[in-house]
């Protein structure tokens, strides 16, 4: 079946079997291996991509269901050679160890910050609660997202006080019982 999917702003047209999963369409069809293929059961969240701006687990979506839609993968976070604030945050705060969960974590974090530019620790943990870090590096993932939030606030403030100096958030933050 012929489909056209816009991936990271670029339209791709191709013939696919209806049973082809979105994750394999991206990785094997388009060579976009930044989307990781993990548990295959919609539990781990390593395969999260945006479909029309919303995070979706691509191991549990069919490529044909994305015909005519827009997909953003981790490769699409960078703009004109400039890494997204979330990517910088993960680099600055050691938000990854083995890196397997990282693309999905970053895409969900991007979505969270687009909706809530100043999320507290509980909100960040809730947002990524469907994603597993097998290195258990959640503390630094939370710090990375907080870093990105502060960075973007400071940039938006453009020289005003913004909230650049509000501390790390994660270090003294409260814990919610429902964390991942």
């Amino acid at each position: 079946m012929q489909i056209t999917v816009t991936v990271n702003g670029q339209p791709y047209t191709g013939d696919v079997e209806p049973r082809l999963l979105l994750v394999h369409f991206l990785r094997d069809g388009l060579g976009l291996t930044g989307t990781h293929w993990g548990c295959d059961t919609s539990n781990c969240g390593a395969c999260v991509v945006h479909v029309d701006g919303t995070p979706v687990k691509s191991c549990t979506a069919l490529a044909v269901m994305c015909d005519g839609h827009e997909v953003t993968t981790v490769e699409g976070l960078e703009r004109d050679g400039d890494l997204d604030a979330v990517q910088k945050g993960f680099a600055e705060c050691h938000g990854l160890q083995c890196g397997f969960c990282t693309p999905g974590m970053m895409l969900t974090a991007r979505w969270l910050l687009d909706r809530d530019p100043d999320p507290d620790e509980a909100r960040i943990r809730e947002a990524v609660s469907g994603q597993l870090c097998r290195c258990t590096g959640y503390e630094n993932i939370v710090r990375a997202v907080r870093w990105a939030a502060r960075h973007e606030a400071a940039r938006a403030g453009a020289g005003t006080e913004a909230r650049a100096g509000t501390g790390d958030g994660a270090a003294g933050g409260t814990r919610e019982g429902t964390g991942p």
């Binding site: 049973r19 999963l21 549990t60 994603q131």
Partner: protein, 305 residues
């Protein structure tokens, strides 16, 4: 690698088109919406449809709103949309309690209310929530539209009143003045299916319970309901003693089975305790003035129990 067996794919462009496709392909075709139950089942060959009929483009099934004192929920409303809707939280906090603990935010972006009910998993949270508030399922088929009370919708595990060739199109929940509701769940970890869960709606009139609705999840309750406990509560004054007794009755009348989530005795204990907690919380909301139609506060709270 888990990949479904081969199937044909059709995209429906309207409800009549979806019904025509269902008629053309017959009982070996399946409707797909969010796909978060069906695709994993197809990967494991627990389901092996010849044809998938994609209804994701049917915007007429995404309506969510209040019409003539009835909350109307299109079958294609996503869990995330249901959870974010202030009117749902105001009139039926039971749904927001339940949605907060269904899967995770990313899965909730995709999964649908109608899909959850049609999957008819005995551990599915919304089924009990809809049973508690006595919703009505609206089913469309070649012969027209028919309404089925939610307590006759689920015929057993993975089996519903939706016949081949038919489509669940929406749910209708009457808004009852003075009613308040809540949902309580115990899960092993964040986002998991419940070990057990219970939902309750109370309508108070003149200081006594005019009507109680109790839903039970994952404990083998027929139609996800606890009618014996509901009957006991009718006409009683709300309070700790009555709620505890209702919990005992609900626990005695359900039929939990041991599985990897726990032994039957523990689940039975949870059924009683969670009914008591859900009733208590619903009564608290009624007292706070968060009852239906009584104001704008949603009574949203997290991490209780």
């Amino acid at each position: 690698m888990q990949v479904p067996a081969r199937f044909e794919y059709e995209r429906a462009s309207s409800v009549p088109h979806a019904l025509a496709l269902l008629e053309r392909y017959g009982p070996e075709s399946r409707v797909i919406a969010g796909g978060h139950s069906l695709i994993p089942m197809m990967k494991l060959r627990l389901a092996r449809p010849d044809v998938l009929i994609d209804i994701n483009g049917l915007e007429e099934l995404s309506f969510l709103g209040v019409e003539d004192d009835v909350l109307v929920i299109g079958a294609l409303v996503r869990h995330a949309q249901f959870l974010a809707d202030p009117a749902v939280g105001r009139y039926f906090p039971i749904f927001h309690d339940a949605e907060r603990v269904i899967a995770d935010p990313v899965v909730r972006n995709r999964g649908t209310v109608g899909g959850s009910l049609c999957q008819a998993d005995p551990s599915e949270d919304l089924s009990a929530a809809f049973a508690a508030v006595r919703a009505t399922a609206v089913i469309q088929g070649p012969g027209g539209v028919r309404e089925v009370p939610i307590r006759r919708f689920h015929r057993g595990p993975y089996e519903t009143a939706v016949e081949p060739g038919e489509l669940l199109v929406r749910l209708r929940v009457p808004i009852r003045p003075g009613a308040a509701s809540a949902y309580e769940k115990v899960e092993r970890r964040a986002g998991d299916w419940p070990v057990a869960a219970a939902g309750a709606q109370l309508r108070l009139d003149g200081g006594v319970i005019a009507e109680a609705g109790i839903g039970l999840t994952a404990v083998g309750a027929e139609h996800f309901a606890a009618p014996e406990a509901e009957e006991y509560l009718a006409g009683k004054a709300p309070g700790a003693e009555a709620f505890a007794e209702a919990g005992r009755i609900a626990a005695a009348n359900c039929a939990p089975r041991a599985d990897q989530r726990g032994p039957a005795a523990y689940k039975r204990h949870l059924a009683g305790e969670l009914v008591r907690r859900a009733l208590t919380r619903a009564a608290g909301r009624a007292a706070e003035g968060t009852a239906q139609g009584a104001g704008d506060r949603t009574g949203d709270r997290r991490g209780e129990g």
